[in-house]
Symmetry: C2
Subunit: 354 residues, 2 copies
């Protein structure tokens, strides 16, 4: 069963420089390493699929954040799923399917002291490998705890989520519906919006890229969409994008509304200062709150969320969509850019092997 | 005991136009009315002192807010205290001291149907008339519920408050100290800062007007002050000012910090868009929250707060400072501007009569 590791080579993407704005080719370095036999207690994983997340852009920056930045010269941090191909750890056998943070590389050697902390077994009966990077992975966990723990929507309330066709957004809206809320998405393009409504069952989805009427300002489509689809105002806004869309929603919030600050993809590549929400005083007028969340804080409770979400998937009460790009580690830099152009449709995954 | 009302004239300040930026003389109208005898169930109050509050600037704007705007031609809305000089209401006798919302005028005729809702008796044994507009009035209530209910500081945590020498700020910091917290103020000018530390017992106070070292940016004094005085970070920020100071504090908040959005005096006269907090993503990194509050929501619990605050005053555990301007209603427009220049020192009060 054991693969001849010595015959394998491990392509890796390393961070070569800190980007200024959108990452460019010279910010990356493609390296190649041999794959060594695991030491006592260690495991070697063949990485099958890598998760591409907006948060990656933040990890590339210098400075204080919720986790340390990726160091220059280090393998780029990434979540992923894979198959154990060599093991000297009693809890893992060759062939076990696992999830963890392999980084952008084809083979992940996990030393003994990190196996317990960084690896977890996954059950392909509950979801496909790419679903384990989506609704059963970090995006799903983010949606679950951000919506249910931080925002705490009540039945009948209106939940708006941006990036609605993206990894986190798709699960936020579907969970909101399952909890008896009205779910309104914001996404870029008619195709995504149609899918969010027809396939995921959101009540409505606003196309922020819709052509504004002559003379109208760029965000009038969002303003008009909120007016039309949130006639009872907005009780919860799950924000993945920041910028003008956040401002536009702030103008529509209800008393005691909750805004979950999950991300701000519109700002991640800004080369000038981040645009702060000009309408933040709507929080005062409406006694509302805006609260940040980081999914890692909930790791002890992931099993609870996975059980519920896998149940919804199995019952057909929830769907997921992954945008799977097949390629090697070398394709990572170009694939990542799809997130920032909005070109991806669903959770973006780089599949390295079947 | 009854004053001859027919002999009195009632000078009033009315809103003549909606200001663009700082209010100017032409935004106001001085009117004069006779004082009528009260109808059955009504009360007439001689206004002794009027409260001047930053929030007044917001009430002058058109548009949706937490209370309707003052209408053009209406007497300017204002809190105040006064003495009953005529009463046909069983619960009020001539000579009773009351608080309420008389507006900017010398005599306040309260019709029967509004007496119960708008008037309350005050006890001068608990505080002076101007203290009833300060620590025992709306600013004190705002400080009490904003700090204790919204921010919920724990002993040993660091509470930062801007506008520290102002009406709300002085009580926020003193309450924080009484609850076992470290209290750090931000105020404009060395005299205010010295008073906040020496007289009110704050641990430190940062002078945001302090001259920046050569080559430094304007807000470096605040940044440096926070670095020096909040070495364990900021757990609670009670924001009365918004703008660059809010941004500077956001960069120093701790995990699970709470920012109370009470006001944004730096933005109230802005003629361009409000400056949103560029550092709002610090909420995400730190899993922190920013929450708005409006004091009127707590009116049912004012007696509890008044009892506690009056107790602190009586015990000498809390002090208050009012900046009392003596004059008539006609002096209101010029006096109000002291708030926005930061010229006032303590709670700004216009005293119309002894």
């Amino acid at each position: 069963m054991t693969t001849a590791l010595a015959s394998l080579s491990n392509p890796q993407i390393r961070l070569a420089a800190r980007p200024n704005g959108l990452p460019v080719a010279s910010d990356w370095l493609l390296s190649q390493e041999p794959v060594a036999e695991p030491a006592e207690g260690g495991v070697v994983v063949q990485v099958l699929a890598i998760s591409l997340d907006p948060a990656m852009r933040g990890w590339m920056n210098e400075g204080r954040s919720y986790i340390p930045p990726v160091g220059i010269g280090e393998v780029m941090r990434a979540g992923g799923v894979g198959r154990v191909i060599a093991s000297r750890h009693p809890a893992y056998a060759v062939g076990d399917m696992v999830a963890g943070g392999p980084g952008v590389q084809h083979y992940w050697s996990v030393p003994a002291e990190r196996v317990g902390r960084e690896l977890s077994k996954i059950d392909l009966a509950l979801g496909s490998p790419s679903q384990w990077l989506n609704v059963l992975g970090m995006p799903g966990m983010t949606a679950y705890f951000g919506l249910l723990d931080v925002a705490q929507p009540q039945p009948g309330q209106t939940v708006v989520v941006s990036g609605a066709a993206g990894a986190v957004g798709q699960t936020v809206g579907q969970l909101a519906k399952l909890k008896g809320c009205r779910a309104v998405g914001i996404a870029g393009g008619q195709e995504k919006c149609d899918w969010v409504v027809r396939e995921l069952g959101f009540d409505a989805c606003i196309d922020y890229k819709a052509a504004a009427p002559a003379g109208a300002k760029r965000w009038d489509a969002v303003r008009e969409g909120l007016r039309q689809h949130c006639q009872a105002g907005v009780d919860v806004y799950f924000d993945n994008v920041g910028g003008e869309i956040l401002d536009t929603v702030l103008a529509k919030i209800n008393r005691r509304a909750r805004i979950v600050v999950c991300g701000a993809i519109s700002q991640y590549n800004a080369t000038t200062a981040v645009a702060g929400p000009k309408n933040y005083l709507s929080l005062l007028v409406n006694r509302a709150r805006m609260e940040g969340m980081v999914v890692f804080d909930y790791s002890a409770r992931f099993p609870e969320a996975i059980a519920e979400l896998a149940g919804h998937l199995k019952a057909g009460a929830m769907r997921s969509k992954e945008d799977v790009v097949r390629g090697g580690a070398a394709d990572f830099p170009a694939t990542l850019l799809k997130l920032f152009s909005g070109e991806n449709f669903g959770k973006l995954v780089l599949q390295l092997a079947e």
